[in-house]
């Protein structure tokens, strides 16, 4: 549609296209030009080819020499007296301007599928506004009020507001190193060797009616090129010391070894949503992601066979996890007894409240649609089974936990959603956003809220409204909302934004979006979005944990929330997913903070990436 002089100015460097037929001899005005906001859709629909088009600033005031029809890009041969183009918003100038403040936070968000014809019907979802263009979601901001780089200045400016940070509680992790895992007559740890009792499998099998078989494979780095059934979970092996409760006190953890749960049903059908990460381990694992194994670690891999047909029912995956946990529990018992002298490293996580700082909360949406879309919350042992409550049984309502409970393994992830976006149990143990926010002295992280994602829309809005109410009570200045994966959980993801945003609280959203996970809905509060995508083509690439939340995403999100709380606008996202948005935001953050951000690798670094390249890129 025709644009105003104001819009023309804002889009001075965008291509000039006639919105309607214009006759030779007219002087080109803003009213003759089409709104550049719809060009992407038009190009997608094959209606527009912008090759050779002059920019809007060039053609304004020039004379049209030929009668042209609507949607005709104005090229040099039909325009007389075009102005010389100015420098497109001189990047140097922009940077200088942004320099004193920390720049630009992140983002890239979701655009609907090509052609702009993605249509989602949401029945009676009353709080959902489907009209909002997805193009309005996110973008990088230019400057921020909160100034991490200039922290000294901020302190000087507001010394009165400075109040003492208050230590709430601490969590200590004692690390024990394991270099070898063997089978033996009893489960024990000798030095750096872990022995797993031979025959323990039978107890595992007998413990669960639905489990028909359980095999243990010890996978050393030399065995990484081994076929495996779909990976259901990756878990740290950790236990509480003495009477300490999860989330405080001392936790003992084994380094160099992780539990890995895999399985099929008795007919050989993969457990989990749809087998898609089965195959050779080294091709299917994105090493080093918070939820994934590190290269060099030994996997204690269980391959569980559950009763045929229960692979898609709720009891099946739970049984597989429970059976596997018998092994972990036996190791935990040994770990508890290990001599302090074997501790190789001790780290302490302190949870501070920081009065006077902007209070923020992290809302983590977890799957709760049923079956393997479930999570056990707050087991007694880190990532244990016992004591954990399935969030589906809790009705998916929000559950408040402390940041240290998250880092101490309060989530046992039964989820078996797309491997690239699933947050494994280990992910929570190393949750980057919680760590980043916990350690950031400029914000006051008050806690973490887990909220399940139910299946039915009405229930989604039910839990979402509770989230909003809690945020209101907490009186927070800002909130993060994260979700794993994509699909109908984006409906509640959007609703959380709305419920929190409508209370005047800035929200930064984090999700895998890119191409395949494009948000299905949006609303006016979804203005600050960080895309967790890492894959080259922006898709669920079947590589374990590839597209999950990483430190680089956490840094961007924290920066963005600070900007949002400081009242800075964030640029609207581009119509289509553009990975450059992220890289330019990362650069901006680096240049302001002076700290380098090492971006994680993606699937292209894995063996056989050539084949994957052929398939996807």
């Amino acid at each position: 549609m025709s644009i105003t002089a104001e819009t023309a100015k804002a889009h001075a460097h965008d291509p000039a296209v006639l919105c309607c037929r214009a006759e030779a001899g007219i002087t080109i005005e803003a009213a003759n030009l089409e709104d550049p906001a719809i060009f992407d859709d038009l190009v997608d629909s094959g209606l527009l080819n912008l090759d050779g088009a002059l920019t809007i600033e060039e053609v304004l005031g020039a004379k049209l020499t030929k009668t042209c029809d609507s949607l005709c890009p104005l090229t040099a041969d039909v325009v007389e007296g075009a102005k010389a183009p100015s420098k497109p918003a001189a990047p140097e100038a922009a940077e200088e301007e942004a320099a004193p403040a920390p720049a630009a936070a992140p983002v890239a968000a979701a655009a609907p599928a090509a052609g702009g014809v993605l249509k989602i019907h949401i029945g009676e979802g009353k709080d959902i506004d489907l009209e909002i263009p997805v193009g309005a979601l996110g973008g990088g901001s230019a400057a921020a009020a909160e100034v991490p780089a200039g922290a000294a200045a901020a302190v000087a400016a507001a010394p009165a507001a400075e109040q003492e940070a208050k230590l709430i509680r601490s969590l200590t992790r004692k690390h024990f190193n394991i270099t070898e895992v063997k089978r033996g007559p009893e489960t024990k740890i000798e030095g750096t060797t872990l022995y797993i009792r031979e025959g323990i499998e039978k107890e595992c099998i007998d413990s669960q009616k639905l489990v028909y078989d359980l095999k243990i494979d010890i996978i050393t780095p030399a065995d990484y090129h081994t076929y495996s059934e779909t990976i259901m979970d990756v878990q740290p092996i950790a236990t509480k010391e003495g009477e300490d409760e999860l989330g405080s006190g001392v936790t003992r953890v084994l380094d160099g070894v992780v539990m890995m749960v895999t399985g099929t049903d008795a007919n050989g059908v993969q457990i989990g949503e749809f087998g898609s990460s089965e195959g050779f381990l080294d091709e299917n694992i994105m090493w080093g992601r918070p939820g994934a194994p590190e290269k060099g670690e030994i996997f204690i891999k269980t391959q569980v066979t559950v009763k045929e047909g229960t692979n898609m029912e709720r009891p099946g995956p739970l049984a597989a996890h429970t059976a596997s946990d018998i092994i972990t529990q036996e190791i935990r018992e040994c770990l508890k007894k290990l001599d302090e002298s074997l501790v190789t490293d001790t780290e302490t996580f302190d949870q501070y409240r920081r009065p006077g700082k902007k209070k923020v909360v992290i809302v983590k949406e977890i799957m709760g649609q049923g079956a393997m879309h479930d999570n056990l919350i707050l087991p007694v042992e880190p990532v244990g089974i016992l004591g954990g409550k399935p969030n589906v049984d809790l009705g998916n309502v929000p559950v408040a936990v402390s940041p240290l409970e998250v880092l101490d393994g309060c989530i046992h992830a039964l989820t078996c959603i797309g491997p690239a976006s699933k947050e494994m149990s280990r992910h929570y143990w190393r949750e980057p956003l919680v760590l980043e926010a916990l350690h950031d002295e400029e914000i006051d992280l008050c806690g973490v809220i887990f909220v399940g994602s139910p299946q039915i829309n009405a229930e989604k809005f039910y839990v979402s409204k509770r989230v909003g109410q809690i945020c209101e009570m907490l009186d927070v200045d800002g909130a993060f909302v994260t979700t794993e994966g994509f699909g109908n959980n984006h409906i509640d993801f959007a609703s959380h934004h709305e419920q929190i945003g409508m209370r005047g609280i800035p929200v930064v959203g984090m999700s895998f979006c890119a191409v395949q996970g494009a948000l299905v809905v949006g609303n006016k509060y979804m203005t600050h979005m960080v895309d967790n995508n890492k894959s080259e083509s922006g898709i669920e690439n079947e590589v374990l944990a590839c597209n999950t939340l990483c430190p680089e995403d956490a840094v961007r999100a924290v920066q963005m929330l600070k900007n949002a709380m400081g009242g800075e606008d964030v640029k609207a996202a581009e119509k289509k997913w553009n990975p450059n948005v992220k890289s330019s935001n990362v650069e901006a953050i680096e240049s302001v903070t002076g700290k380098g951000l090492n971006l994680v690798e993606n699937e292209q670094s894995l063996p056989m990436s050539q084949k994957r390249k052929e398939k996807y890129d």
């Binding site: 629909s45 599928a113 979802g125 089965e278 039915i456 994966g485």
Partner: protein
Amino acid sequence: MSDLKYGDKIIRMEGVIVEVHDGSVAIDLKGRLGYLKVPMRMFISDYPIKVGQEVAWNMSFVEQLGPEINEKYVSNLDTYTRRQKEMREKNQNNKEV
């Protein structure tokens, strides 16, 4: 994606729910056009999900991305089907015993 020739040919498809599992829903496409099984989170529902409910969605056609065969997937599939066969037989034998 740009490599799709007919990606923008969106057609409305209707189907009937024929299986409801805890984690997925299976749908027969009306008009003998196939069968689709989707995980719960890719299914948007306003009501409790029941067999026999009608559903609809927009989709396009499935196109090949090229003539090449990805050996990785072939090998995975071979392994997977072989194991399934073995396990089925074993499972069968177990029951007979």
